[in-house]
């Protein structure tokens, strides 16, 4: 068991190394002079030179790589070309709104999606099942920002229940935070709910046909207990896996949702960086989000043995 955990943690190293190599080469292998691309058409020679220097583009490739990785390992993601602040500082200042929104979204999604999937599987081939599946296909088919604008139109502009945009940290009181966070969270949750509900339904359908479910029902266990304790626990592993892989969707969604709702998080930071061609910030965000994705999936992989005692390594 301990051996497995160590091996699984060590397996993160090659993946993150290749991600780092990839991100490194992305800038260097792009056609044309990367400094000129970043600086845009109106750049002065001085600015080009400054960009080249700050990205370390003047050295030979292998030396650039060693220097770059060396700085990375010390937690240095470079310096913004626009504000001249270290990228890590910029991300640090904007991290909390995103974490708050993301955590709330995950909790909300699981609370909505898992019961939805369970009920769809339980009432297989009825209108409930069709409704859940239709919602699920619909959730995949509408762009995140369109969902966001539809919510703003309905709840903020027409009904005037909630503020249109903005963000308040939870430290200023829970209600102002929730008031502004609920629409972004629902927006982000739509696609995540679609994904998790679909997987829960599929996984539950498989389990509900098993002998032990029939036995449990035959000996008079309450249907609710059969579904949520006997069946759901055995169906949990694929659901956990999809929550992990769906995390990538959540990250992409955060970038879009934060700019729809004007939330000062790292997603908004990324969009501003795109518009300003601030490449070090984009690069830092790619590295950070990849790392978070790999880390979340590592935790989920390791948690399998706790959810399902049959899994032994």
């Amino acid at each position: 068991m301990l051996g497995y955990i160590i091996r699984r943690i060590l397996a993160v190293i090659p993946v993150m190394t290749i991600v780092a190599i990839f991100v490194f080469l992305l800038l260097r292998l792009s056609p044309g002079d990367p400094a000129a691309i970043i600086a845009g058409d109106m750049a002065t020679p001085e600015r080009l030179e400054r960009i080249r220097e700050s990205l370390g583009l003047t050295e030979p490739l292998h030396i650039q790589f060693v220097t770059w990785v060396g700085l990375l390992l010390q937690g240095d993601l470079g310096t913004s070309l626009i504000s001249n602040t270290p990228v890590t500082t910029m991300i640090g200042q904007r991290l909390w709104p995103t974490i708050n929104i993301a955590v709330l979204t995950i909790i909300l999604s699981v609370l909505i999606a898992v019961p939805m999937g369970v009920i769809a599987a339980w009432r297989h081939r009825t209108w409930v099942d069709s409704a859940v599946m239709s919602f699920s296909v619909l959730g995949f088919s509408i762009p995140v920002f369109v969902i966001g604008y539809i919510f703003i139109k309905i709840f903020s502009i027409e009904l005037r229940w909630l503020p249109v945009q903005g963000y308040a940290p939870p430290s200023q009181g829970l209600w102002p935070f929730l008031q502004r966070a609920i629409l972004p969270c629902l927006t982000l949750a739509t696609i995540y709910v679609a994904l998790i509900a679909r997987m829960t339904r599929a996984s539950m359908l498989e389990v509900l046909g098993e002998d032990y479910v029939r036995t449990a029902r035959a000996k008079g266990v309450k249907e609710k207990v059969v579904l949520f304790r006997h069946a759901l626990r055995n169906a949990a592993v694929p659901i956990m896996t999809i929550i992990g892989t769906g995390f990538a969707l959540l990250i992409s969604g955060v970038v879009v949702t934060e700019s729809v709702f004007n939330i000062p998080g790292i997603g908004r930071l990324t969009v501003d960086a795109i518009l300003a061609r601030d490449y070090p910030v984009i690069q830092g965000m790619i590295l950070l989000t990849s790392f978070i994705y790999v880390f979340v999936n590592l935790i989920i992989d390791l948690s399998y043995t706790f959810i399902d005692p049959r899994i032994r390594y």
Binding site: V15, V19, V23, I37, F140, F145, I251, Y293
Partner: protein
Amino acid sequence: MAAAPQPMSAMQTVLGIFSLPRNLRVGIGPMIAAGVLFAIVLVTACAYLIVPHDPLAMNALQRLKGPSAEHWIGTDAYGRDLFSRVLVGGQVSLLIGIGAAIISVFIGLLIGLVAGFFRWADAIIMRIMDSLMAIPAILLAIALVALNGPSIWSVIFAITIPEIPRVVRLVRAVVLSAREEPYVEAAIAVGSSMPKILWGHLMPNTLAPLIVQGTYICASAILTEAILSFLGAGVSTEIPTWGNIMAEGRNYFQLMPSLIFWPGLMLSLCILSINLLGDTARDMLDPRLKKREV
């Protein structure tokens, strides 16, 4: 889905060109989806024959006007006809979707065949693919467009790269199981050339799942194009695409929600139809999945 036999409709005849077994009947949902998709593709493909106005012609006097006899669903912030723009915008969006699907399926197929067949290549290729999958698709695409410029090809390329690992995984899994089949072992035993085994014997096994995967990639590529444009990292704003029209509509959302609503509706209908057809194709091409109702 459909239990009772239905008379052959035009749509079933159209679907018939894929030479599906006759006992696999198509339900009403997929038929509607096919109809909607066909209509959208037809209308956007012939957009320049239909449109009442030049989609690029600006008119300062007609800015942000509501629906009228002249402009059926209104005008945008530059006084351009929204109806014409939505139709023409579909061309580039669909082109990007189809282009990204074909290219990522083709490249993924080649890499997946190699990874599935040659053990020495498998470990290296799959490590690289795992790493590529760890990078959030949108962020990778943003970086690629930022570095390669806002051309249509650069956007297709940017959407294709993050999709390739998913295709590779699929192809590799199919090849790994097909490789153990007697006919493949026989082909190796009689000394068939390696390209012949890969392309002639193993590749056909991957076609059915790849068609399904291709439809999903097409749908997700159209979505990604819209998101990239929305974030300001898409096709150059001079070219109307569904994403670009919505991105421009952002600033006027409170005033004119239809700038986001109409292109959003077309795009969502289009993606919904493609996804539904993908699900149908999956159920038809893999009866085992249908039985398990996954």
